[in-house]
């Protein structure tokens, strides 16, 4: 990867973080909002882009630490453990990307993300369950859309791994 590539990833990460915190945060559905940047992280991991994935995860941790109140250790854990787990599982079980696998990956990742947040906040209630379901559903749908859009764009532009 060239320096220009790193700079582009940094700007894209900044833009996505700002979209999440300042734009999409106004679209609240049952106590949950769309996290585009987390979906993009999962897409990168699914597409086996190892180096960009972890560079993106590092920059994302930096911006999220600035724009959100989420605990730093939680951010580091989620942004590094998620792609690691996806890439390890794909390698270990020789899984190829198909619609069911992608759906499962997004579902589990988002469920763990919100579930862990609820565990940290120790606020177990009906509203927490509602937020968990809502967050997992809307972010799984958003993630699937992003994945297939990315796939279409990379195929169109002829970008190889």
């Amino acid at each position: 990867m060239s320096i220009a590539y790193y700079i582009i990833i940094t700007f894209i990460t900044l833009l996505l973080s700002l979209l999440d915190t300042s734009y999409l945060s106004f679209l609240e559905i049952s106590g949950a909002t769309i996290l585009l940047s987390y979906a993009v992280l999962i897409v990168l991991a699914l597409l086996d882009r190892k180096k960009p994935t972890f560079f993106y995860a590092a920059i994302l941790t930096l911006f999220y630490s600035a724009f959100s109140s989420l605990p730093i250790l939680f951010l580091i854990f989620m942004f590094f453990a998620t792609p690691l787990a996806i890439q390890y599982s794909k390698k270990r079980f020789s899984i190829e990307n198909n619609i069911v696998i992608i759906l499962l990956v997004f579902f589990i990742s988002n469920f763990v993300f919100e579930g862990l947040l609820i565990l940290i906040s120790k606020d177990f209630s009906y509203l927490a369950l509602n937020a968990l379901i809502s967050f997992t559903t809307i972010n799984t749908i958003a993630g699937m859309i992003i994945y297939f859009c990315t796939k279409a764009v990379t195929n169109y532009l002829g970008i190889k791994k």
Partner: protein, 261 residues
């Protein structure tokens, strides 16, 4: 020979983030927020304009019930307003007689636009575009339409972080307007709760909860919400009530920071 691809920036950035960020969150955050403030403001304005419409559609199911409830409350409010006006005239007249003077309530209010929100709904905070340069300070009350929405928890040069009353980290000294019983108002994902109310207090549903002014920082008498039900049992030492906020913090766009006296 093929040139080896550059990879050191990758390792440097990953290491920096893992080692430095946990210890310098505030300093880094302040710098990044300062640089990105115009973009944040612009995105927040657009987000509010675009998604206000969708929020309305998503909540359409509740609008009919809310409309009926509001109509009946409006009728009651008109009657209350008439009584209030009479009392205000009487109050002004009595103040004049005893020579009491009061500062203008509108003084010391700093209007601020919301330019950022928290990503997790139960760690509620908002970022506003007024900071220490504009006179904002930690602990000051943040109001909207005269109703308490939160308090300033962190202040940077041009921005401030506001912990909302609905946040699990929020604690506000509050009291009941009619029974005058004092307690502590705490937020959380399961809603706002008014705790530490003595068992002998007679509290009714829809009674208004206001700030008690204890602990400084927030003036007495700012409305927060209404009592929606009792959470505690009779065997407990103190009563705990669930409180319905008077304002939906998700629909806020502009707030006012009330400067400390």
């Amino acid at each position: 020979m093929r040139r080896k691809k550059l990879s050191y920036p990758y390792y440097i950035v990953v290491l920096l983030v893992l080692v430095i960020v946990p210890y310098t969150r505030n300093a880094i955050g302040s710098g990044i927020k300062f640089i990105t403030k115009p973009i944040m403001s612009s995105l927040a304005e657009r987000g509010s304009a675009h998604f206000g419409f969708f929020s309305g559609i998503l909540n359409i199911r509740n609008l009919s019930n809310e409309n009926e409830e509001l109509s009946s409350k409006l009728k009651k409010s008109i009657v209350d307003q008439v009584e209030l006006n009479e009392l205000r005239v009487e109050n002004d007249s009595l103040k004049k007689q005893i020579g009491y003077s009061e500062d203008d309530q509108s003084e010391g209010l700093i209007p601020a636009k919301i330019i950022g929100r928290d990503l997790a709904s139960f760690m509620d905070f908002i970022i506003v575009d007024k900071g220490s340069d504009d006179g904002s300070a930690v602990g000051e009350a943040v109001l909207s339409q005269g109703i308490l929405v939160g308090r300033v928890s962190e202040v940077w040069k041009n921005q401030s972080k506001v912990i909302l009353v609905t946040s699990k980290d929020s604690i506000v000294q509050a009291m009941l307007q009619s029974s005058r019983a004092m307690g502590v108002l705490k937020g959380g994902l399961s809603g706002i709760a008014l705790e530490n109310i003595p068992q002998d207090s007679e509290v009714v549903t829809d009674e208004i909860v206001i700030t008690s002014g204890l602990g400084g920082g927030i003036k007495q008498g700012i409305a927060i919400g209404t009592i929606s039900g009792q959470k505690s049992g009779n065997a407990e030492i103190f009563k705990v009530f669930s409180v319905k906020p008077l304002i939906d913090s998700n629909k806020l766009e502009l707030v006012f920071i009330q400067k400390k006296l």
